[in-house]
Amino acid sequence: MSIEGHVQLAYAPDGASELCLLGDWTLPHLQRCRAQLLALSSLPERWQAQGLGALDTGGALLLASTRRARGLSTDINSLPGLSQEARALFAMVLEQSEMVAPAAAPLNGFRELLARMGRALESQWLQTRELLGFVGLTLVTCGLILTGKRRLRWTSTVFHMEQSGLDAVPIVALLSFLVGSVVAFLGATVLGDFGASIFTVELVSYSFLREFGVLLTAILLAGRSGSAFTAQIGSMKSREELDAIRALGLDPMEMLVVPRLLALLVMLPLLAFLAMLAGLAGGAIVGSLALDITPGMFISRLYEMTEVRHLWVGLSKAPLFAFLIAVVGCLEGFKVEGSAESVGRHTTSAVVQSIFLVILFDALFAIFFMQLDV
């Protein structure tokens, strides 16, 4: 059983006072040991370790630093009675605990604030420039592939089409269906007050064909595929696989970026179209259940009142969204460095950035199409 470390003032046979160290001077008792030493206003020069139990680095450090702080000699012989092992430990601690590290310089809050704002602004600018540069590089690589100077990786492209396109069908369809029915419910509540509940059909069809179909798909794919791109390329980067690709005389843009970009360019419009259908189906079902608009009526009303240009407006945005998601996802992957933690950070950043860009461009498109009157 361990006995808590404690001290006792005693008199040596020659009459000089000495401090007897008793019990275990180990980590569990360290705080109370320290309190005991601090409680003594004056410490004698000579300490006696005859009754000392166990001693670990914590205890040895406490003894050494107390002696140093009180201006007592820090010689290994200043502590007679140590066992051989404890003596070796104490000697090592004495040697290593000599200097105290300088404290960190105090911070100026206001200047820190300014510096942080400046850093954030600068990194935003650098990030934008990097993104534009990467867009250029991607387009050049696509151009090289079109002119036959680089190969198109069919296997990889089809693989990513399956992963980020086909596998996303259930979630995209289900989500759009649910949002479609929610929009129809909203229409039923608001338009019903005016006796215009038949206009629910237009509400659902306009919103899904122009906006929601493609926007929901893009946001889902940003979260699902954009993040996957970052994680895949990022973990390759942290394991130096990208360097290996370059060292083998291959082009990571050609091997990794273009197939992913192409896969999204093909699959996102298809998924968006599917999302529009699912949203309309959701609206139709709510219409027939809650509003007495039969599916037949829904379809004929849709056919009569909704022009096909709305579909084209919606689908025309899909390739741009696909491009944004793929480019941001891949670029963030390339920016990963070092640890696995960095992969996580960049994955988060990829999702946030691509969703931000998708919504930003959607708003710009809305203004653009309004001015065009389509």
Binding site: L30, R34, T57, L61, L89, M92, S97, A104, S339, E341
Partner: protein
């Protein structure tokens, strides 16, 4: 140390992954205060043995005891009490990447004993120095350190609680010869000062000759021989002979003669 206490006791250990049997009836004793080197070819199950001993892996048969307790079967409280008494250095340090070196070392100290900062900070700095790192490394993140420094930082964390036993998983792999030699001598110093028992998994022959009191050779799912390295190298087993009679072994022995 002929009749010293046995601190690690492995009996009839069996480990298998699917149909592949890695250990089959493995026995090993490690005595207090010695440096036990465990060697064996790639895939001989050195790391699996270490993980079984420290309780990170449930043995498929037999048992592995540390300080008299079978960690893979012990109750949580008992296991924690034993875990506090040994330190473990993983192959690449396994430092927490979101914490600085100093925070990494401070973590076990803070979790186990609520030390105030005026006791904690110097102690952390002392451990970092004992592991052979400069003070400036304390506030760096693991990603900012070289491989050798990461290992030292991992060692600083492993000795944070003043363990009785130190488990090392290939501590010198990936280090340059000078760095590896420094690490070896650091281990010897620490072992003397902190009175450690060291369980060292390695394939570095220099380390075997330089610091190990005894060497255990893993082959065919068993420990085929445990003894001083001078005895082990004469053991008539094909793997042992190839290992200790190869060109690299001659270099390691020559270094030993010079030292």
């Amino acid at each position: 140390m002929s009749e010293a206490e046995t601190v690690i006791r492995v009996r009839d250990l069996r480990s298998q992954f699917g149909a592949q049997v890695v250990h089959d009836g493995l026995n090993l004793d490690v005595r207090r205060g010695e440096v036990m080197g465990v060697i064996g070819g790639s895939g001989a199950g050195k790391s699996v043995l270490l993980r079984s001993v420290v309780g990170l892996r449930q043995p498929d048969g037999g048992k592995a005891e540390v300080l008299g307790v079978d960690l893979s079967r012990a109750a949580a409280a008992q296991r924690q009490a034993i875990e506090r008494r040994f330190g473990l250095l993983f192959q690449d340090g396994a430092l927490f990447s979101s914490l600085t070196v100093a925070e990494n070392v401070a973590l076990p100290l803070k979790e186990q004993y609520a030390l105030p900062p005026e006791l904690l900070d110097p102690l952390v700095l002392l451990k970092i120095r004992l592991a052979g790192l400069p003070d400036s490394a304390a506030h760096k993140y693991p990603a900012q350190l070289s491989g050798g420094m990461r290992k030292r930082a991992g060692l600083a964390r492993a000795i944070a609680l003043d363990p009785e036993i130190l488990f090392l998983d290939e501590p010198t792999s990936g280090l340059d010869p000078i760095g590896a030699a420094h690490f070896d001598s650091l281990l010897v110093t620490l072992k003397r000062a902190l009175n450690l028992t060291v369980f060292l998994v390695t394939h570095d022959l220099d380390s075997l000759y330089a610091i190990c009191d005894r060497v255990a050779v893993l082959a065919d799912g068993k420990v085929i021989v445990v003894d001083r390295v001078e005895v082990v190298e004469r053991f008539p087993h094909p793997w042992v002979q190839e290992c200790f009679r190869g060109p690299r072994a001659r270099g390691a022995r020559r270094n030993q003669d010079v030292a």
